[in-house]
Symmetry: C2
Subunit: 421 residues, 2 copies
């Protein structure tokens, strides 16, 4: 057994080991990294039986603990899902390598040449919950962009994650990427996670992926810079000049296509004139798709079976077939509501009036703004970024879907022949 992650290293030793490996990794060519990712993909595919066996352990423990069906589903692996990991790694291998790109270059009057060059961040700390696919996906994106990664997955997927990392290490041993570039924290001790929060010297960025409480715990306690991802309380504003068919299609799609994801709609804001005219059609569409409405008084009067909505509904990321409905008289009221309750993720306006749409898109402060389209497009693969490490809901560094460039920083490289000031 030579698997570094399974040796009893401390979390700090793991981070230091990862940092050292990052230096080696940063010197590799794109082709060397791509080949390593493809070899790792093959190894994962061939090792599906041992991975499924490890996954069985997690599943039986999960059953004992009485996890619900949705949770068990996220935890469960199949041969096909393992094939998807492998395919994901191959897709990352096919993406362009952002590192080494010269973003800008100029020469000062004194002859000093200045280059701004994209380089890896160094070591990424990834803190996530039950889904074992994140283990392979995140490692793939990190390695392709020249970064080491320290993984801390949810304890309910511990056996699966450890096995996936073991298989990845076995594969990396046949490649130029040092296997030490992928570290997995096997301890389920909460203190182990918290150590990651303040290890500024060894970890360059933390990426938490999961529910609001996980993300808040990281943001509030970390001194290591955080890439905040995730929570989406997304709104669809139906303006009085909205086309009925577009509005209904988009509302139903954004709410029901995948209700549990962050780019699903959670509140419908509707202009009262539009509602008056189209309440029957809206009510029918809502009913046909099994959506439960939580609305204000005017919404309750116009629609059927509306549960009275309170503060908590406006702020709620339901992640279910529930939808809050707020009626407004003006665009400004709609924007004020979004300002107050939105999470700066994805916000849509449905209108045939381009000026109103432009005003909405300029004044609403969010990563992704939509005119006459579903919020469901806020997603790296849907928007054509290739794989994504998460969707940033912060404003610094990266905003919206984060592909490989979000895992890089820059260096300014100055070359001279003795220039002084």
């Amino acid at each position: 057994m030579s698997i570094a992650a399974l040796k009893p290293m401390t979390v700090e030793e793991q981070a230091i080991t990862a940092k050292k490996a990052a230096k080696t990794l940063s010197m590799l060519t794109t082709e060397e990294k791509n080949e390593a990712l493809r070899i790792t993909a093959n190894e994962l595919e061939h090792s599906y039986e041992e991975i499924l066996k490890a996954n069985e352990e997690d599943l039986s423990k999960g059953k004992e603990k009485g996890y619900d069906k949705a949770y068990m589903d996220r935890l469960a692996l199949t041969q096909e899902r393992i094939g998807d990991f492998a395919e994901g790694l191959r897709q990352v291998a096919d993406l362009p390598d952002p590192t080494g790109d010269v973003l800008s270059e100029w020469t000062l009057e004194n002859g000093l040449n200045v280059q701004e060059v994209r380089v890896p961040l160094g070591v990424i700390g990834m803190i996530y919950e039950a889904r074992p696919n994140v283990t392979a996906d995140a490692a793939g994106l990190a390695l392709k962009s020249g970064n080491s990664i320290v993984l801390k997955g949810g304890s309910s997927a511990l056996s699966s994650n450890m096995k996936i990392v073991e298989v990845m290490h076995r594969a990396l041993e046949k490649t130029k990427i040092p296997k030490e570039a992928v570290q997995f924290i096997a301890s389920t001790d909460r203190a182990a996670t918290q150590q990651l929060f303040t290890m500024k010297e060894h970890i360059d960025v933390l990426i938490p992926r999961g529910g609001a409480s996980l993300i808040n715990a990281v943001v509030e306690n970390a001194t290591v810079p955080v890439l905040e991802t995730g929570v989406g309380n997304c709104h669809i504003y139906v303006d009085n000049k909205a086309d009925v068919e577009k509005a209904l299609n988009i509302i139903i799609n954004a709410k029901t296509d995948r209700p549990a994801v962050c780019n699903a709609a959670e509140t419908l804001i509707v202009h009262k004139d539009w509602l008056k005219e189209n309440s029957d059609q809206l009510a029918k569409a809502i009913k046909d798709h099994g959506i439960t409405l939580h609305g204000d008084e005017m919404a309750a009067d116009a629609l059927l079976n509306v549960v009275p909505a309170g503060e908590e509904d406006w702020a709620n990321e339901y992640l279910s077939l529930d939808l809050a409905v707020k009626t407004v008289g003006t665009l400004e009221e709609a924007i004020d509501h979004i300002d107050q309750y939105g999470t700066k993720h994805s916000e849509a306006i449905i209108t045939e009036d381009r000026e109103t749409a432009d005003r909405f898109m300029q004044l609403v402060d969010a990563a992704a703004l939509y005119h006459n389209a579903s919020t469901r497009f806020t997603d790296g693969s849907a928007l054509g970024f290739g794989a994504e490490i998460g969707i940033s809901t912060q404003k610094l560094h990266a905003r919206g879907p984060m592909g490989l460039p979000a895992l890089t920083t820059v260096k300014f490289m100055m070359r001279g022949n003795g220039q002084i000031r």
Copy 2:
């Protein structure tokens, strides 16, 4: 008196007011912002007498408190220095406006148009020390990039800062920029500053400018994202293939041109073979420029009057005419030393061997890497960025000198005709 900043608003009310003003500001044209900056520049120039009077109060309090000469110098204003603020605002007006730039644009197969557009961050919280010029400089950069700013200056410059803000407010009243976009926290209560640290809803980024203890206090206690600036423990590595004249010029320039700034050199790492051959010339140059050396044993043997160096010297940002000297036998030893003690600011190698230089620049993790040039060039105006809000020593968002683009984020704007997933 209608000066918002001088009304007894709470810090939270000031931040909310700034956020509201940021919306108005974000809708202005570049020309409207530029005109406002020019009017403000004129008003500051014309108001020099009242600003100098306010500055007198700070200076006489400073004298009572026995501040040292360097500190008093940073605090002191003259008509000329006020003219420099004004000129700085005019230069910012002349810089290109980054907001509104479409950074990328594409159309998906389904017809959905995607634009990545640069937009203001919103509200910037600026926490700084004694220098009153930061008040006008930071406000100018914030306004030009469409951001409101909440200023918290050092209490020793309180009268000067309040007067500068009063004059700026008077000028802004004649312009399209709402004067509420510039907020100044007049309270000298430490709690007022700390409130800024956690006001995530109203403040988008904190920028601390000053010494290491100020910056660390912000980084450790803030939940608002921080742009970390400043501390520079910069090294010059003189390789065994270094040209003597270039090496001496660069060492002397980087150490003595302005010893108190962050891009000054603090440690000389020197290859022992080069030192053996050139110790006399180096010793003479050091002596001629009044530099005090703190060196390891080999440096002490080769040079004159060397104070023995310890751990604390390698880590020290002297900001004075002191220089640590470390001897090494290989490039790798030099890089290891920088890895251990550097602050990822500016690092230089002097060598005639391009391959060695490339290896140094690739392996050393810092914002600015120099081959055969002085570290003193890490500065927005020296590198041609125009004005800078600070020098980032972090890796996320912005790295190195930060001009106007560092004060922006992006929005993804999607325009469709009913697209759903």
